[in-house]
Amino acid sequence: MIYADNAATTKMSDAAIDTLTRCMKETFGNPSSLYSIGQTAKEVLEKAREDVAGVIGAQPREIIFTSGGSEADNQALLTAAALGKKNGKKHIVSSAFEHHAVLHTLERLKKEGFEVTLVDVHENGIVRPEEVEKAIREDTCLVTIMYANNEIGTIQPIREIGAICRQKKVLFHTDAVQAIGHIPVNVEEDNIDMLSSSARKFHGPKGVGFLYVKKGIKAENLITGGAQERGKRAGTENVPGIAAMATALKEAASKLDENTVKLSAARDRLIAGLKTIPHSALNGDEHSRLPGNVNFCFEGIEGESLLLLLDDKGIEASSGSACTSGSLDPSHVLLAIGRVHDVAHGSLRLSIGETITDEECDYIIKSVGEVVEYLRGFSPVWRDLVSGKKQFIL
């Protein structure tokens, strides 16, 4: 079996599992309790906060532990909205291919009277800083642009966008769920005010994540109750999960260079191989993309059939296909980069892991080629394309 859906979620690392189970057995106390076992849990919690902060160049007190990336995105956007409201600023700049945790929160804010400008992500899947600058108005309270796209893996010019926001004195949030642990991120150097992350994307456990909020910004509390997380997120902390996240993140950071070299080589091998399939195209920029992300469209076929047949061949991948999500519309990301519906339905995302071998890459290339050819064999769309009744797009 080749697991090639690491952008969906990753397998926990052995070290993270060790931390998790050890913490469950030995440090079960409530970190808010004053007796020893509670204080030991508190120490574990605060050590994790230091470790997480250290990896992204933040101060420990700037880290709020959350239930994951979606909660962190919600908290960041609602924080900026609350501050904006107070100052009479109700305009937000974002992009069309953000994660739904951002897009749906923006929809909610629109109902509360906020205006949203979505900047173009262009054919290469990369936001242009000068267009962000143009979109910023007097009443802009937030710019939120993801660090790397979850479907096509394109890396955004975050540092440049951050610098513009600093200069314009507008808060800047980035959903870095796909980036943290995979590419170098430093909140200071990248001029980031708020950043969301999720443990399960870097071999940590599910149900844990964090939000970085730069010192001086008053975070909005979404969950009221006790005074945990300096009053910014009530509820007894998931100490084992948080500790395991810190272990996984430190491990990912220490292996970052080594993994980048390995994954980029495998990614480029896959891209080169899949390009040889006729009437196919890579989605998103070839170079400014996450080391483990490959995303293709194949004309004349539909993505779910492709995924099911690849699964039969032992390859687990995903697609921006309509049918996988239960809606008739294909991926909003592929539409945002200008792929037409007909082509966007035939997409494949491979997000490879660090253990991938050259042989596995070659097996994937061969298998995808076979399945695409087989499905085209009885596709009425393909027949129309080949007979000239319809024009090829790719």
Binding site: I301, E302, E304, A322, F378, S379, P380, W382
Partner: protein, 126 residues
């Protein structure tokens, strides 16, 4: 639990009656690529009996399985019987489809009816 029943997976992996009938007596096509599903049905009819049926489908697993099952259900049947095929019968024969995939069985029913209508109109124009 798997996404699809064993029956759906069987018809998806080994679709019956795949292909084209060059001298078909009726051809039907429904759906569009924009929505992600297109089905095309070809019928060979003799003495009001469906002697042969072939299909081509662009679509998801349940679209391919629904096409395959529908062709099996009408092959050898009189035209009058085939006209009575319902999407529900196709879905039931497949041991059910997920709710949001029921439209695939609707497309299969429509594709067959579309092909039968084409046959009828060709007959009337003779």
């Amino acid at each position: 639990m798997a996404l699809y029943s064993e029956k759906v997976m069987d018809h998806f992996r080994n679709p019956r009656n795949v292909g084209v009938i060059e001298d078909a007596d009726g051809v039907g096509e429904v759906g569009n690529a924009k929505c992600g599903d297109i089905m095309k049905m070809y019928l060979k009819i003799e003495d009001e009996i469906i002697k042969d049926v072939k299909f081509e489908t662009f679509g998801c697993g349940s679209a391919i399985a629904s096409s395959s099952m529908a062709t099996e259900m009408i092959k050898g049947q009189p035209v009058s019987e085939a006209m009575k095929l319902t999407n529900k019968a196709v879905a039931e024969a497949l041991d059910g489809l997920p709710d949001y995939k029921m439209h695939c069985s609707v497309l299969a029913e429509e594709a067959i009816k579309n092909a039968l209508e084409d046959y009828e109109s060709r007959k009337n124009n003779k």
